[in-house]
């Protein structure tokens, strides 16, 4: 049985700003690092069949790695990918993520659905920190929207 998580968040910016901020390698430090000395590496090949490799952690021995393979890329409204996550202790986790970016009245409603968790406990561990990520994404989006409006 697969355990899924679903998150929604509304951003005060258009879908293109949110979509680009989510994927931009230059934004990942602001989205993922808990401190200035954190290691954050991101490489993205944004096309169907292309990969997105994300590595981050507080030190070399605590790195978390995600390798995603895109199955749908429809900028700026939809993104789907299968992701293999590897924890610092070698455990791996394979899930699938679908994200929609719906624009309306200058805002974007982002819906993220992650499926394939092997247990509710692991799903909840991820669910516990995704809101923090989305909060950071909101901050990045607001900065970019403000810079774009200036």
């Amino acid at each position: 049985m697969s355990h899924d998580l679903r998150l929604e968040r509304t951003f005060d910016a258009g879908p293109d700003v949110v979509f680009d901020a989510f994927l931009d390698p230059g934004a990942q430090r602001a989205l993922l690092a808990d401190g200035p000395d954190w290691i954050v590496e991101s490489e993205v090949d944004l096309r169907v069949g292309g990969t997105w490799t994300l590595v981050w952690g507080s030190s070399r021995d605590k790195l978390f790695r995600e390798v995603a393979v895109f199955s749908e890329v429809d900028r700026p409204s939809r993104l789907a990918y299968a992701v293999t996550a590897t924890f610092a202790d070698g455990r791996t986790l394979e899930t699938e993520i679908e994200i929609t970016f719906e624009g309306k009245d200058g805002q974007t409603n982002m819906t993220l659905v992650q499926t394939g968790f092997p247990s509710a406990a692991i799903r909840d561990d991820f669910k516990g920190d995704w809101p923090n990520f989305l909060k950071r994404l909101e901050h990045v989006v607001m900065e970019r929207a403000a810079a774009g409006a200036a």
Partner: protein, 112 residues
Amino acid sequence: MVQSQVLDRTFSALSDPTRRDILDRLAAGPASISELARPIGISLPGVMKHVHILEEANLVVTEKLGRTRECRLGPEQMADATRWIERHRRQWERRLDRLETYVERRQKGVRA
């Protein structure tokens, strides 16, 4: 931060039974947010709020591990609060010792 503010935060954080349950659980070792939530029986956002308050009081530290977060007892734990309680306990002991001496003298005086 001045000492009284540190103590305010510590005692305020400790005033909630759920937060004390979280500290009890973390005394046994690090735990994820969901591991803290399960035995307490409250929602993940609810646990996250309690953990945030404990984190602000330096009673708990959290570390991001990929897309999860691990919680453990803070390095200082309850040192300031313990020192404050110990100082007041010693004051009260001295007062009680003096009261005991006073009562004993009075009793001896009455018997004499």
